[in-house]
C-alpha cells in the first residue's frame, strides 16, 4: 500500500507540473502576513504545495493561507468549500510584519499635472501607495496604516490584488495651509471644467463649501497623470490641521478613511440603478475597521444638503464613542431600536442619526464577525464588483446562508445582544 501511495503522489505531481506550465505564478499570503510568489503545485490533503520560480517546493497548511488564497483553491482545484470558514478569524492588518524599508522618500517633488513645474508635495513611495505630503507630516505613519489595510483587503478579497495591479493609490497628507488651499483650488478648477450642467455645478459648490472643513475626502486624479505615473484614479486627501496629527499606526481617523476608500475602490462604481446600500456597507466597514484596529472612533461624517449644497451638518454616533455597543445593546433589548435589513440598507447620510449610525456599525461588525461570515462578506463584495449594486435583502440573506430575511435579522439581533459585539 505504501508504494502505491508513493506512486500516486509522484503521479499527481507530474499531473500538476503540466498545469503549472501555463498557470502564472501568483502571490500567496499566509495568515501571519508573509507572502510568496509561486505557482500552485498541488493540493495534498489539508496542505498545499507551492512551487517557487527557482523550483523550490513549499508546503503549507491550507488554514495558514489567506481567505483569498483558499477561495482560489476552491475555484481552481476543487478544494472543499469548508476550508473557507475553517480556522479562527485573524486580524491580517495587525498580523502583517511590516517592513519600513519598503517606504522610500523620493527626491523629486510630486506634481499634479505636466504643466506644474515646481511641484507642491514631497513624496514617499510604498509598495501600493504614494504619499504626497506638505508641512509637518509623518508620511511613514500613514504609509504603514495604508499598507496594513491594503494587506487586509488582499487577505479577504480574492480579486483585490489582481484588480489593484501594479498601480499606486495616491494619499495626500497636507498640513501646510497654503498647499492645502492650492490643492483645493486646483481640484475645484478640474471639477469646473467638467461641469456642463446644473448637477455638475452643484458638485463644484459642494466641494468648495466643504474643502476647509473635511478632515479626509477622496478626489479623482486626471487620466493623463494616472496613465503616466501608474496611479489609480481615486486618491485620498487628508487635511491635517493642528488638531489632526497621525502619530501612531492605527490612528483612528486615517484608518477609517483609508479602509472605506479601499473597500469602495474594490467594489467599483455605482451601477445605473443607483447606490442604495453603498453608504451602509462602506461607512459601516470603515467604522468597523477603525474601532477594531484603533480601539476607538474619532470620525464624524460631514453631510452636505440644501439646494445649493450650502447646508453642512456633522454626524456621528453616540457621544460616548467607547460605549456604542453597550448603548445599542440596551436599546435593542428594550425594543427602542429594531434592526431591519431593508431599512439598514436604505440608510443615507441625510437621514442619519446617532442610533442609525451605531446600527450601521453593528451591522458591519456582524457581517464580518466570524470566519464563516467574513467569507460571506467577501462573496458579497465580489458580487458587487460585477453587479455594481448592493444585493437586495433577500439576496444578502442567501449569501449568508439564510433562507429568509427574517432569519438573518434574528441572527444579527442575537449578535448585537451577545458578548461578541463590543
Amino acid at each position: 500500500m505504501k508504494s502505491t501511495l508513493y506512486l500516486l503522489t509522484l503521479a499527481t505531481s507530474l499531473f500538476f507540473s503540466s498545469i503549472a506550465q501555463a498557470e502564472d505564478s501568483r502571490t500567496w499570503t499566509s495568515i501571519r502576513g508573509s507572502t510568496v510568489d509561486a505557482s500552485l503545485g498541488r493540493l495534498d490533503g489539508d496542505s498545499v504545495i507551492l512551487v517557487t520560480k527557482d523550483r523550490k517546493e513549499i508546503k503549507l497548511a491550507v488554514t495558514d493561507l489567506s481567505l483569498a488564497d483558499r477561495q482560489y483553491l476552491v475555484e481552481n482545484v476543487s478544494a472543499p468549500e469548508a476550508i473557507l470558514s475553517a480556522g479562527e478569524l485573524s486580524m491580517p492588518e495587525k498580523d502583517l510584519k511590516f517592513d519600513s524599508k519598503t517606504c522610500k522618500k523620493l527626491d523629486e517633488k510630486f506634481k499634479l499635472s505636466v504643466e506644474d513645474s515646481e511641484g507642491m508635495f514631497d513624496q514617499m513611495e510604498t509598495e501600493h501607495f504614494l504619499i504626497a505630503y506638505a508641512g509637518d507630516v509623518r508620511p511613514n505613519v500613514v504609509a504603514e496604516i495604508a499598507e496594513r489595510l491594503w494587506h487586509g483587503m488582499a487577505f479577504y478579497h480574492m480579486n483585490f490584488r489582481r484588480d489593484w495591479g501594479d498601480k499606486r493609490r495616491v494619499i495626500f497628507c497636507v498640513e501646510d495651509r497654503e498647499t492645502y488651499a492650492a490643492l483645493g483650488k486646483w481640484y475645484q478648477d478640474e471639477l469646473a471644467k467638467e461641469a456642463v450642467n446644473a448637477d455638475g455645478q452643484k458638485r463644484v459648490q459642494e466641494f468648495a463649501s466643504t474643502w476647509d472643513r473635511v478632515g479626509g475626502t477622496s478626489i479623482q486624479l486626471p487620466d493623463e497623470l494616472c496613465e503616466e505615473k501608474k496611479f489609480h484614479t481615486g486618491a485620498t486627501v487628508f487635511n491635517m490641521n493642528q488638531d489632526r496629527e497621525f502619530k501612531k499606526v492605527f490612528t483612528p481617523f486615517p484608518t477609517h478613511v483609508i479602509a472605506g476608500h479601499l473597500l469602495n475602490q474594490q467594489m467599483g462604481g455605482v451601477g445605473s440603478v443607483g447606490g442604495k446600500g453603498y453608504f451602509t456597507v462602506v461607512t459601516g466597514h470603515a467604522f468597523y475597521k477603525e474601532i477594531k484596529l484603533a480601539g476607538e472612533t474619532e470620525t464624524h461624517l460631514l453631510d452636505v444638503g440644501g439646494t445649493a449644497g450650502d447646508e453642512i451638518s456633522s454626524k456621528a454616533g453616540f457621544d460616548d464613542g467607547s460605549a456604542w455597543a453597550r448603548i445599542l445593546k440596551s436599546e435593542v433589548k428594550r425594543g427602542k431600536v429594531k434592526p431591519n435589513l431593508l431599512e439598514i440598507l436604505a440608510v443615507e447620510a441625510e437621514t442619519l442619526n446617532p442610533a442609525k449610525l451605531v446600527l450601521v456599525y453593528s451591522f458591519a461588525n456582524y457581517l464580518q464577525s466570524n470566519s464563516k461570515r467574513v467569507s460571506a462578506f467577501a462573496r458579497m463584495i465580489r458580487r458587487v464588483e460585477s453587479n455594481n449594486t448592493i444585493p437586495e435583502p433577500e439576496e444578502l440573506a442567501k449569501i449568508y446562508d439564510f433562507d429568509s430575511v427574517e432569519k438573518m435579522e434574528a441572527d444579527w439581533i442575537e449578535y448585537i445582544k451577545s458578548k461578541e459585539f463590543k
Binding site: 507530474l14 499531473f15 493540493l43 455638475g200 440603478v273 462573496r379 449594486t389 437586495e392
Partner: protein, 469 residues
Amino acid sequence: MKKTILTLCAIFISSTAHAQATDVSQELRVFKGNNGKEIKAVLIDKNDTSATLLLENKRRAVVPLASLSADDQDYIKKWNKEKALFLQKCLGLSVRQLLELRGYESFPMTLEGNSIIITAKLNGKDARFVVDTGAGTSLLHTKMVENCGLELGPMTEEVHGVAGSVPACWVDVNTLSMGESLFKDRKILATDMDKDKPEGSKDQSTAGLFGADLLKQLDTVISYKENRIFFRPDKSDRVLVDGDAAKSEDAGVEGEVKDQDEVLNFRIFKMRDGKSFRANVVSKTSTVLTVKLASGKTQQVPIYNLSDDDQKYADAWTEAGDVFLRHCGALKIEEVLTLRKYNSFQYERRGNHIFVDGTLNDKDVTWMIDTGADSSLLDLKQATNSGCEVGPMKHKVYGIGGSAPAGESVMKKITLGKVELTNRRTLATDMTGRAGRDLDYVGLFGADFMRELDAVITYREDRIFLYQR
C-alpha cells in the same frame, strides 16, 4: 523511449488520482481471476483480448480477458480509454492552455467597470477598443481615426444604439491588428462616441467598439475567469502582407508555411525584438530550447531571446507536461468546461448578434448576450410582459445615440439552464428603437452577470458557458 513510457503511465495514474482525489481507493479496483485470486490494480489500457493493469507495486501486467471474472470482463468492456483520458485532460487544463496549444493567441483583457478593453493597432498606432458582442458591426471613434492618421468620410451613414441614432461615416482602414491577427484594407464605420456621454465620463479616453463582425472572424474566445481574450488569427490576409516565412527568417529561424490547419497546431513564440515564429518545443537545457518549426526543421533558440511570457513558458516546460498536452488536441472547450461543472449553452446567431434561451420570472424568454452592456438591461414592454414591475422612468441609460429614460425593476428570477439568479435590480428602457415593433428578446444579458458567472464565450463553437458559484 523508456522514459516516455514511464511518464505516460505515471500521467495516466495521475488523472485517476486527481479525478478521485477524495477517494483514491475507488480507482484501485479489485480484479478477480477465474482461479479466485484477487489483485488490486488500475486499468490503463485494453484491446480485444487483454487488459493492461497497473499494479500496486507500480508494475504493469497484461492480463488475458478470458482469465478474469465475468464481472471484470464486463467492467473492462465498458471502460473507455478516451473517457479516462478525458477526465484527466479536462480537470487539469485551463481554457488558456487548451487554446494556446491550438494556435490561438491570447491577450490579457483589462476591465474598466465591466467593459473589456483591448488595445489594438489601428494603422500601426495604439487604439483602445471595447470588446462588444452586442455590436453587430465594429465602430471607430472619430477622434481615434484622426489620431491614427486616417481620413473620415462624409457623415452620410447612421448607426443605431440603445438610445437612438447618430450620424456616422466610412473610414478606409489600411490595417487593424492585434498580435498576429490582422485585418487589411477594410471599411469600418466611425462616429463621435464622446457625444452625449454622461457628465464626468468624458475625460476617460474613449474607445471604439470591437464588434461581433471581427470577433466572429477571429474565432474569438472570451474568458472572464481568466481575464483573457483569445483570437485564432485569420492568416488569409497576412500572406499578402508578410508571410510567416519572412518573419521566421527575421527571427533567425527558417521556415515555410505549409498547411493552414497544421500551422495552427504550433505555438506562437515571440522574440524580444517583437518578431515571432510558430514551433513546438522538443527539448530544452537551462538556456536553450530545441524547437520543431512549422516547416518540420529543428532549430535551437536561446531562451533569453524570447519574450518574457515565452521565457516563462520555456522555464515551465517539461517533457512530461508536453506529452500530457499532446493528448488533449481533440478536446473541445465544451467538453473541458462541462466536466468542470460549467453550464453550457448553444447560442443562436441572428446576423452578428448572439442569443440564448432562458426564463424570466418563470416565463420563457430569449436574452441577447452583450459584453458591451456594463449592466444587464430589460426592454420595457418585455419586462412588463414577464411580470417585472418597472418604476418611474427617472433613470437614464447611455449608449450610442445619447441617453434614454429608464425605470428601475427587480427581476425576481432569471434562469439559463441550471443557472439561476434571483432578486436582481436592473433598469428597463424602451429598446424597440426604430424597428417600431416588439422585440423578440427580453433584453441584454450583460457583463455584470457574465463576470459573476465566470462566462466563457466561444465564437467557433457557438457556445456560452456559465459557472454558478
